[in-house]
């Protein structure tokens, strides 16, 4: 299992590692980190329709949680013996597909036509990661906390591209926009370097990656323009978990 985890990290970041000469002993200077993650995601748009028997999101897209993929580039702005403070920018992608609806004159609902909701989640994140357990005691665990300002760029589409809706008064509303929010995250990273320190040094020597971590975290967020009465809720209703790999370089 240990070898599998380390091999996964190396396969993603360092195909050439095995071909290189023997590593040096001194660690390279740290600059920041990069991480990518996968997370099952479902926005809580239906929170507006608590009394509805057929709320629009679940009716259209169902209860599945398609995966959101995200990456964060960070710069380490404060490093101590205890841990590291990273400030970074993240971006990702998420999309869900479903079927539209048609209600005939007798009230029978039929399904058809494809429709989708796409979100590009952007974030500015501040992360504090405790490196002390591994650096001091060689315990391969690094807990962390993160706060983030979120900007979800979203777009809905139907058969003919981006959706529009015309009100009874003739106003046209285009189904795309951006919604701000915030998030808090608690996570735990497994330091993969502990399982093969030689290979870890080799990785640092070859491509400057000081540390590789497998992480798991949970996030609670709110994305509704900070409580605006004219915004929907694009954050999940639950603590959303995510897992991924983090590289310190």
């Amino acid at each position: 299992m240990k070898k599998v985890l380390l091999a996964l990290a190396l396969a993603l970041a360092l195909p050439a590692a095995a071909q290189s000469p023997v590593a040096v002993s001194k660690e390279s200077p740290r600059w920041g980190s990069f991480q990518f993650s996968l997370s099952p995601f479902s926005p809580n748009i239906d929170s507006e329709f608590t009394s509805s028997l057929a709320p629009p999101y679940v009716t259209t897209f169902g209860t599945n949680r398609p995966l959101m993929i995200q990456g964060i580039f960070s710069k380490s702005v404060w490093m101590t013996e205890a841990g590291t403070l990273d400030v970074g920018f993240g971006a990702g992608w998420w999309q869900v597909w479903g079927q539209g609806q048609y209600t005939d004159s007798s009230g029978v609902v039929q399904r058809g036509g494809s429709t989708s909701l796409m979100i590009i989640p952007l974030q500015i994140a501040v992360t504090y990661r405790v490196d002390w357990f591994y650096d001091r005691f060689e315990v391969p665990l690094a807990p962390y906390v993160r706060g983030a300002i979120l900007d979800y760029i979203w777009s809905t589409s139907g058969q003919g591209g981006t959706s529009t809706w015309n009100s009874a008064t003739g106003t046209s509303y285009r189904g795309s926009g951006a919604t701000f929010g915030f998030a808090g995250t608690l996570g735990l990273a497994l330091v993969l370097d502990a399982f093969d320190t030689g290979l870890s040094r080799q990785m640092d020597y070859d491509v400057g990656i000081n540390r590789s971590m497998l992480f798991f975290d949970v996030t609670k967020s709110s994305v509704n323009d900070f409580g605006s009465q004219k915004s929907w809720q694009l954050a999940p209703s639950y603590w959303a978990w995510s897992a991924g790999l983090l590289f310190v370089y």
């Binding site: 058809g112 139907g158 189904g175 915004s231």
Partner: protein
């Protein structure tokens, strides 16, 4: 003396090879379906279907000498002749005007018979070789193979496809088409494409054709909402052999296009508060504020 003889022995095979002229390339385009190097069943059997040959010869003929080209064909197993008696031509020999030359109007049926294709309704494709022989001064002595190329009589008929399902849309139907199973008389062929025909079940309007496209979802567009349609699919091979028409799907609810509402329209119809655009309320200032902060940070770093 022995060393010289040994050296000569070593060089002889190379000298012999150097004298062999590699034939040029030839291709043929059947004018009716327009795919180079292919003829379909109908073209194989037709007495009027012709092809245009493009010859790139390995020799440079001299018109004044009366040099000619002879067009031939052979089975893939025997290949073009390179020695002995020059083979009979598909048509009359043509005056050789250059090392690159086009010859039009070569009958496809003549190619088939010369290459011993046999029946044009057989289930298997028949690859053959096109041959161009150079006849110096028009003589059948001292001839040589000047050019050759491959050609396929694509005789296999694609199998009858199946319709996996139909999803209605606004003025369209998305038809899921799956390839049929090849039988003894229906050999699956490469590069099969599919057309879908959507026909209004009750008078009015003309059928709509979707495709051609690969196996998967084929869309019939431009349909009239609320009218049930019947849907069929048909495969076509690369050379244009049409397969059997699939079983009919519909008319039913799934083959009736309707003006379906998309998610945004459903949301707004139910009274959703989101209005679209870039953030609302106080958050609207957040984007520009963050951009300004980023700009200031960048300027500070530069200074």
């Amino acid at each position: 003396m022995l060393r010289r003889a040994t050296l000569l022995l070593c060089l002889l095979p190379g000298a012999a090879l150097a004298q062999v002229t590699t034939p040029g390339a030839t291709s043929a385009l059947v004018t009716t379906q327009g795919v180079s190097g292919l003829a379909n069943q109908a073209e194989c059997a037709s007495t009027t279907s012709t092809s245009n040959w493009t010859i790139s010869s390995s020799v440079s003929p001299v018109i004044a000498n009366g040099d000619r080209y002879r067009l031939g064909a052979a089975t893939q197993s025997t290949g073009c002749a390179t020695s002995g008696t020059v083979p009979a031509g598909i048509s009359q020999d043509v005056t050789a005007t250059g090392s690159t030359q086009a010859v039009n109007g070569v009958f496809v049926s003549a190619i088939a018979s010369t290459a011993s294709v046999g029946s044009c309704t057989q289930a298997n494709d028949v690859p053959i070789v096109l041959c161009v022989y150079y006849l110096p001064g028009g003589s059948t002595t001292n001839w040589q193979l000047a050019s050759q190329g491959t050609f396929v009589f694509q005789l296999a008929i694609p199998p009858k496809p199946t319709i996996g399902g139909v999803t209605p849309g606004d003025s369209q139907l998305s038809v899921s088409v799956a390839a049929g199973t090849a039988t003894a008389t229906e050999t699956a062929t490469r590069s099969v494409t599919y057309k879908v025909t959507c026909t209004p079940s009750s008078g009015g309007g003309s059928p709509s054709i979707g495709g051609p496209s690969n196996v998967g979802t084929v869309v019939c567009g431009g349909l009239t909402n609320s009218i049930p349609y019947t849907v069929t699919a048909q495969a076509s091979s690369q050379a244009g052999n049409l397969g059997a028409v699939s079983d009919v799907t519909g008319p039913n609810a799934s083959t009736t296009p309707l003006p379906f509402l998309n998610f945004w329209q459903i949301y707004k119809n139910q009274g959703g508060v989101e209005e679209g655009g870039c953030s609302t309320g106080g958050a609207g200032t957040l984007g520009p504020a963050l951009a300004l902060l980023g700009l200031l940070a960048a300027r500070r770093r530069r200074s």
